[in-house]
Each structure stands twice: as C-alpha cells, then as structure tokens.
Amino acid sequence: MHMTADAREVSKTASGATATRDIYLPSERKIISGGGTPHVVAKDFSIYYGEFEAVKKVNADILSKYVTAIIGPSGCGKSTYLRAINRMNDLIPSCHTTGALLFDGEDIYGKFTDEVLLRKKIGMVFQKPNPFPKSIFDNIAYGPRLHGINDRKQLSEIVERSLRKAALWDEVSDRLDKNALGLSGGQQQRLCVARTLAVEPEILLLDEPTSALDPKATAKIEDLIQELRGSYTIMIVTHNMQQASRVSDYTMFFYEGVLVEYAPTAQLFTNPKDRMTEDYITGRFS
C-alpha cells in the first residue's frame, strides 16, 4: 500500500504535459519523447462511484493515431477510465468525476459539452459483442441514419466500406439482410467494430474486445487493430499481456485506480520502471 500512495503522489505532480506533446512516466518524473499530438488529456482526473474513488488523479496524454493499451488487475479501474472518455459512465447515476478530461482541448465533462456529439466522435466496442437484433445492414447503417444519412445508395457504400475496414465484408456480403445475431461471436465483434467505424469516429475505445472470443477470432481482431492503427486513435483494455505487446504503441498500467506507469509498450514490457509493473507483467500477481 505504501507503493500505491507513492505512485499517486507522483502522478499528482506530473500534470501539464499537453504543451510538450510528450508522455510522462509518472514514477520516473521523466519525459520520454512520444512524438504525437495529444488527443485525450487527463489532468488530475478522478472518477467516483458515490464515495468510492475508482480512478485516482490520473494525469496522462493519449496520443493521436496511436494504439494505447490499458492493463492492470481486475477491478483496478480500466473500464471505468475508458468509459469516462465517451461518457458512458453517465448511465450510472452514482458516478461523478473531478479534475479535467480534455478531448481536443475541450473538457469532456464541461457544462456545455454535448455528450451525444462527443460519442459520435469517440466510438466504443464492448467486451461482449452487442449487435442490435436487426439485419447486418441495419446494424451498420444505424449510426449513419442517426446522423441524417437516409439515401439507400449512400448507406450501401458506407456499409460496404465499414465492413471492408473491419475485414468482414467477404464473409457477410451475401447476407446483409440476415439478422446479425446469426453471426459467430468473432464476426459479431468485428461487426461491432464496423458499426462503430461507420460513424467515422476519431477515437476507438475497445474494452477487452477479444475476451469473449476464441484464438482465431482474437487474431482477426488483432489484425484489424493493426489495419486501423495510424488512421484512428485507439485505446484497448486487455488482460492479455501478449496482446498488449502485439498491438499497442503505448501501454498504461493501472493499479487500484492509480496510473502507475505509462510508457512505450516495448519499454514497459522489457524495462519497467516500477516494481509493481514488473511484478504484474511477470505474473507475480494478477
């Protein structure tokens, strides 16, 4: 517990990183060159469920067009943090935040922020595939229709483009009118990615997108993330260390709500600066 308190102390002082466009390694108080534009910036950002502080004073920049993985033991606040970014936590009445979370420099929890518009720009794919009980076509077209596109031809183009991006087109192009719930779990998850892409978001939040899938489907999703890297800012929560090291550029390690270490993935896995990070990635606790 001593270490937790320490880490928290450190991260508190590591604010104000936006200007330099670099990443702080909280436990080292050292800036490493990240080389990117910060897309989502947390400043002393805490998230509470009632009295309980689930995420504690996080200071971090998420860099634009990179893949950032979030790892940490169960219950450490990974999902809570991720869902805060597109305000999905609004669904939980007891949930509230302090500090600031900025998206393109604007406060996500600002008084005048339109959370509907925000979610259009920050898409999310959930742990369990959750297609609507509608046809494949209608699933993909759901978002575009919401945002005013009703022309059938235009919709068809969007559907095809999104499905191609999600590497699902070849498998479903002949049954777009079939119910999406008839697809396999892996296909459903790629459909969910395609559905999110159809809205043309800037950020893609993935909360353990492969935990409900078999290895083959998992590999497809990982390939997909590789495909999409560079075009979108991607944040992925995962329990799978190999997955984090395979797909991400940067990795955040959370422990009991504290962002313990945040570094380029290769560095974090080969040369962790924090004892706790090391213990976690070497499997000494989980």
Binding site: N86, M88, L91, P93, V116, L117, R119, K120, K121, G123, M124, F126, K128, N130, P131, F132, P133, Y142, G143, L146, H147, K178, N179, A180, L181, G182, C192, R195, T196, V199
Partner: protein, 448 residues
C-alpha cells in the same frame, strides 16, 4: 441431508406439482366441456320448420318454394290437429254446464301447451311478441315441450316432513271419454311431420341482431359491442401505459414522488372492478360528461383505467428485460436517449409489451362490472362506429349475466347463454392466440 432423503423430497415435490397441474386441468375440462358442447349447439342444432319460418319472416332468408312445400306437407297434419280441437269444442257445447266448466279449465292449458309446441292456433288473436308467433324452433326443446303437452306436472305434498315431490299425470286420461283423447297420441306420433326437424347450421346466431330479446339468438350487437369496448380501451390504455412504462424505466429518478407513483400504480392494479365501474360513472359521465349517459366512450375509458396498471407493469418488465448492452451500443454510436428508446429499446421490448397488451385486451373484453354503469344495455341493435361517443351498447359479458339471471325467459334460452359464453371465451382465446403468434414472429425476427 443424505442422498436418500433428497431423492424422496424431489420425488414428492414432483408428485405434488404434477398433481396440482392435473387438478387444474380437470377443473378446466369440467368448465370448458359443457361450454363448448352447449355453445356449439347454438349454431349447430336440429332445427324445425318453425325455425325456417322465423328466418324467412324476420330476416327474409330461405327458399320461398321450398318453404311453401314444407308448409303444405306440415299443414296436412296440422289440419287434423285443428280438426280435433274444433270437434272437441263442438262437443263441449253439447255438455251440461258443470261438466263443461270442468273440461274448459283443463282444456285451456292443453291449448297453451300445444301453441307453445307448434305455434299459433287458428282463431286465436295474432300474437304481438315475436316469440309467440312461432312454435319450437329447436327440436331438442320441442321434445321437452311435447312432454309438457302430454303430461301435467303435479306436486305431492302428502309427506309434511319431506320436500314435495314432482309427479306427472297424463292429460289423455283427464280427457277420457271425450273426442280429445285422440289428440295426444296423434301429436306424439306426428310431431316430426308437423315440425319437420332437420340438421341446421345457423351462423346467423353470431351475425344477426336479436329478435324479441334474444329468444331466437342473434348476438351480433353483443359481439360488436365487446369489440368496440375492448379496442376502445386499448386505444387509450396502450399508448398511455407504454409511455408511463418508458417514464418509469428510463426517465424517473428514484425518489419520493416516484415511489408514490409506483405504489399508486400497484394499488390501482388491486382495486375491484366494480369500483372502477362506479368511478367511471362518477368521473367520466357525471363529472367530465364525456357523454350524456352510458356510452361506449365512457365504458372504454373506464376499462382503460382498469387495465392501465397491467399494461404499465408488463411494459416495464419488457423494457427492463432488454439487454443493457443494446442501450450502450446505441448511445455509444451517438444516439440520443429518446432515439435509443424509439429505435432500439421499444422494438426489442415489443414482444413483451404486446403480450401484456393482449392479456389486458382479453380482460377488457371479459369484464362486466366496469361497464354496468358506464356502457352496457341489455338489449339493443348494433351501433355504428360514429355512435360510439354517445350510444351505449350490448356487450357479451354483461348480456351473459343479464340473460342468465334477469331475463324473463332465462330457462328457455340456455342455448343463447351458452352461445354467448362460448363466443366470449373464443374471442379471448383468439386474442391470446394471436398475441402468442405475433410475439413468436417478432421474437424470431429479433433472434435472427
């Protein structure tokens, strides 16, 4: 607990469960079998020439030539019956006064019984009520009436400690020694020739208006009234109920006001239906004056209030059972809450909502108490759609009660009562069946 005891417990529970289901099944059979057999008899039965005459005269149905032929053939035997009557009447004139008085007092009931059996006799003033213009239209009933014609019912009061006993005296013996004696065996033998029973399918029972307060059937006004009332109630209650359920599940914040609303809703569900009837009269008719007096509108509104809690509950359940992930998915795509409700949550909840709705529709169709004071009349013709705002209507539920308990000839029209009951049961079952089918279809579409 050891394995043996556990097994015994499991078995005995299975036995008890099975037993209670069996008891329910038997009870249902005991109720349903007579309803079905008797109810079917209102449409399919052995009808007499009197039935065909009635249809021809009152509804203009039937083949003129055929009927004339039948009439002629029946007339051959009727003539002989009439002949016997006038022979006896002539014989009466020759009797001495005291004897004549004695026979006259016995002859009156004989004529009445005969008239009930085969229809008006010549020389009598024309009947005003339609029911007296015809003899027995149903052969089963005619056989009962034949017995009443042949035998006088008497009561034996000789034993003061027991209930009086019913016994029959042959009328033929009472007229021993007169010319009328021949009448009784003749009628008994030739009743079929007079009434000409034939297997009849009378769909008009369902589609005709009633003639002379349901004596001959014809329950269309009731069926239509039931339909109007139930559908009218749905028109009000369904949208309101769904909106309320959406409010409770998606918008309401837990709090004092909300918990009061919820308990009000639960209380409403437990209020006896007669209270709704009185409320409907006091509120919709006397206070709001939606119509001058009873009307379909007032009845529908009353029924709507009655079924509202059920619809709200069912819709709430259905909405709550929609996976939260649908909502999350929709919101994460940049949908508004309202849009999420309309395009994702309600469609997914639809099967449950519809089930609740149709169960309520069945209840609205079957309830009697709420419409007694607000919408129902015992006899009336089918009303037009435009009249629903001002006219009351007959309805199956109310008329079943009325025909069974308040009708002046309740015992004579059992078949009409059963026919109405079966119609009501069928309507409710049909509604439920269509709900099940609709639900299955939507569920299948949702499941892919």
């Amino acid at each position: 607990m050891n394995l043996g005891t556990r097994k015994i417990l499991d078995r005995s529970f299975t036995a008890v469960g099975f037993g209670s289901i069996a008891v329910m099944g038997i009870a249902l059979l005991i109720v349903l079998v007579p309803i079905i057999t008797n109810g079917v008899g209102s449409v399919f039965f052995t009808g007499t020439l009197e039935h065909r005459k009635m249809l021809f005269n009152e509804f203009g149905r039937g083949n003129t030539e055929e009927l004339a032929k039948e009439n002629a053939s029946s007339e051959v035997y009727r003539k002989q019956i009439y002949g016997m009557l006038s022979a006896f009447e002539a014989e009466l004139e020759t009797m001495e006064s005291e004897k004549k008085q004695d026979y006259l007092s016995k002859y009156g009931p004989v004529k009445t019984a005969l008239q009930t059996l085969i229809g008006p006799l010549p020389g009598e003033p024309e009947a005003i009520l339609t029911r007296y213009k015809y003899g027995q239209t149903r052969w089963g009933k005619a056989e009962e009436k034949l017995h009443e014609f042949l035998y006088e019912t008497k009561w034996d009061f000789s034993n003061p400690d027991a209930m009086s006993k019913e016994y029959f005296v042959s009328r033929a013996t009472e007229f021993e020694g007169t010319s009328l004696v021949k009448l009784f065996p003749f009628v008994e033998e030739h009743l079929e020739d007079v009434l000409r029973p034939e297997f009849t399918v009378y769909w008009g029972f369902l589609t005709d208006s009633s003639v002379d307060s349901h004596i001959f059937g014809g329950i269309w006004p009731e069926i239509q009234g039931t339909f109007f009332l139930a559908v009218g109630a749905m028109l009000f209650a369904f949208p309101l109920g769904v909106i309320a359920a959406v409010y409770f599940t998606e918008y309401a914040r837990e709090g004092f006001f909300n918990s009061i609303l919820r308990s009000a809703n639960s209380t409403l569900a437990g209020v006896p239906s007669i209270v709704f009837g009185l409320f409907g009269l006091a509120f919709f008719i006397n206070t709001l004056k939606v119509s001058e007096s009873k009307s379909v509108l007032a009845g529908s509104l009353t029924l709507a209030i009655m079924i509202l809690p059920t619809i709200i509950r069912a819709a709430e359940e259905a909405i709550l059972s929609v996976p939260k992930t649908y909502k999350e998915a929709s919101l994460s795509l940049g949908s508004t809450k309202w849009n999420t409700i309309m395009t994702v949550i309600l469609p997914a909840a639809l099967p449950g909502i519809i089930t609740g709705g149709v169960i309520s529709l069945g209840r609205a169709a079957g309830e009697t108490a709420p419409i007694i004071f607000t919408a129902a009349v015992s006899v009336g013709s089918a009303i037009g759609l435009a009249d629903v705002f001002s006219s009351p209507t007959p309805a199956l539920s109310w008329n079943i009660y009325n025909l069974a308990s308040e009708h002046e000839a309740a015992a004579e029209i059992r078949h009409v009562q059963y026919g109405m009951v079966l119609s009501l049961v069928s309507i409710v079952l049909l509604l439920n069946l269509s709900a099940i089918l609709l639900r299955a279809r939507i569920s299948k579409k949702l499941k892919g």
